[in-house]
């Protein structure tokens, strides 16, 4: 059934008309042969068809009056960013983002230490100690940390010169990340699951063939910094450590 998952994924694209005619034909051929997939795809389409867009009522004119009044009030306290400063920021965007990431890492570390001082045995992920997930998660985050810090702090030019990790290693990390993401979902650990999802996006971007393209590198940089990934990861890592010690003693 594992192999059939690919066909179900294609079936989603087929539902939205995003499949090339050739792939659509291959999918239809498979569905005509595989009863399990056919039934699953039919159910999938039926369920998607049930998720109709919510009926959106046009707001009353009074709503827009209130909206504009509220917006005006908010804008009174907001000054538009002066253009020269914007230009300065844009020309030093890489440095500004790197500095911001560094500050966030430090603040994240301090916050993590304050909230969970060393020695406090507390599950960062809301799971029962001893099931191995926290240990695996912590080890995975430790492995990824240098790479993501590089993504966050290196300038696009530095990054383009040498990708800090080779493709086979990236694929390995991606696979491990997916397995952990699945385990986090099974454990209902939303915080870990969302963090791993963000990491997957970065790894997918890094493993794209055109990673040396400056635009792509800029996007990776933005993804890491915009989501404060390193800071959030640091909090989870710090909070996982005491538990790792506890599990080791067990």
């Amino acid at each position: 059934m594992k192999r059939c998952r690919k066909w179900l994924e294609l079936s989603v694209l087929h539902h939205y008309g995003e499949l090339s005619p050739r792939r659509a034909r291959r999918l239809e051929r498979h569905l005509s042969r595989c009863k399990d997939c056919r039934l699953a795809a039919q159910r999938q389409h039926a369920n998607l068809a049930k998720l109709t867009p919510p009926h959106l009522q046009e707001p009353e004119p009074a709503f827009w009056d209130g909206f504009m009044a509220k917006l005006d009030q908010r804008l009174d306290g907001v000054a538009p960013l002066p253009e020269p400063r914007m230009r300065l920021l844009q020309s030093h965007r890489g440095w500004a983002l790197s500095a911001a990431a560094l500050v966030l890492v430090i603040l994240g570390g301090i916050a993590g230490r304050l909230i969970f001082p060393p020695g406090t045995v507390r599950s960062a992920t809301g799971i029962v100690a001893g099931n191995g997930f926290t240990v695996d998660l912590s080890s995975h985050l430790e492995t990824l940390h240098p790479l993501l810090v590089d993504c966050s702090t290196a300038t696009p030019a530095e990054f383009a010169q040498s990708l800090p990790v080779d493709q086979p290693r990236l694929q390995d990390l991606l696979l491990r990340n997916r397995l952990l993401m699945r385990r986090a979902q099974v454990q209902h650990d939303t915080a870990a699951s969302e963090l791993l999802e963000e990491i997957e996006l970065i790894l997918l971007e890094l493993s794209a063939p055109a990673t040396n393209d400056h635009t792509r590198i800029g996007q990776v940089h933005d993804l890491v910094n915009r989501s404060d990934l390193v800071g959030r990861m640091d909090i989870l890592r710090r909070r996982s450590r005491p538990l790792v010690g506890q599990e080791a003693r067990i």
Partner: protein, 202 residues
């Protein structure tokens, strides 16, 4: 007014608004508020959050109009701001909630970790009533990015290439988000439909 003239008029309004002309900015808001609000409504699933999100989008627009160089249309730019603001807001809210509730979760039995609105639905409701009546609740199982990709593709019929451009990610990544979103929704619906359990596990 033809398209070129309307674009020209908008460019003038943008320039004046960027120079601090609030009346010009209000005109821009009046032109785009409906589109932004309805996208926000689809993303947030309720009117209150949608209004807050739309307000935040226009405040961001006001603050950053100087950086608008006209490479894309203003509506495209607003679309992108709305998506990014929604993802950032929901992520930061979820993260804060997670930090605050982690203690409670440690002591909560695993059986209570079910999808909101799904397990608590009375058995007398039919599947269709539950799904149709709780579309927004069903979408709550999705992460912000998955929800954005799903809403744009499923509700708004936006092609994957455009979604990728709006969310500034690759098309392959959008497809992954879409697969994962649909799978989660299948899993969520499996609680309601016993026949669908197997599919949800796929």
């Amino acid at each position: 007014m033809n398209v070129a003239a309307s674009t020209e008029a908008e460019a003038v309004l943008i320039r004046r608004a960027a120079e601090g002309d609030r009346a010009a900015f209000s005109s821009l808001v009046e032109t785009h508020r409906r589109r932004v609000y309805f996208l926000a409504r689809d993303l947030c699933g309720n009117c209150e959050d949608a209004e807050d999100l739309a307000q935040e989008v226009f405040v961001k627009l006001y603050r950053s109009l100087h950086s608008f160089r006209g490479a894309a249309r203003l509506s495209t730019w607003l679309h992108r701001i709305t998506l990014n603001t929604y993802i950032d807001q929901r992520r930061s809210r979820a993260w804060k909630e997670k930090l605050q509730t982690v203690d409670l979760e440690e002591h909560t039995p695993a059986s209570t970790h079910t999808n909101p609105g799904v397990a608590s639905a009375p058995e007398t409701f039919t599947l269709n009533q539950q799904v149709l009546g709780h579309v927004d609740t069903a979408l709550d199982v999705l992460s912000p990015r998955e929800r954005a990709a799903f809403v744009l593709r499923h509700f708004r019929d936006t092609p994957i290439s455009e979604i990728a451009s709006s969310m500034q990610i690759r098309q392959g990544t959008v497809k992954s988000l879409l697969f994962r979103g649909v799978r989660k929704l299948q899993g969520s619906l499996a609680h309601l439909d016993p026949h669908a359990k197997r599919e949800g596990a796929l």
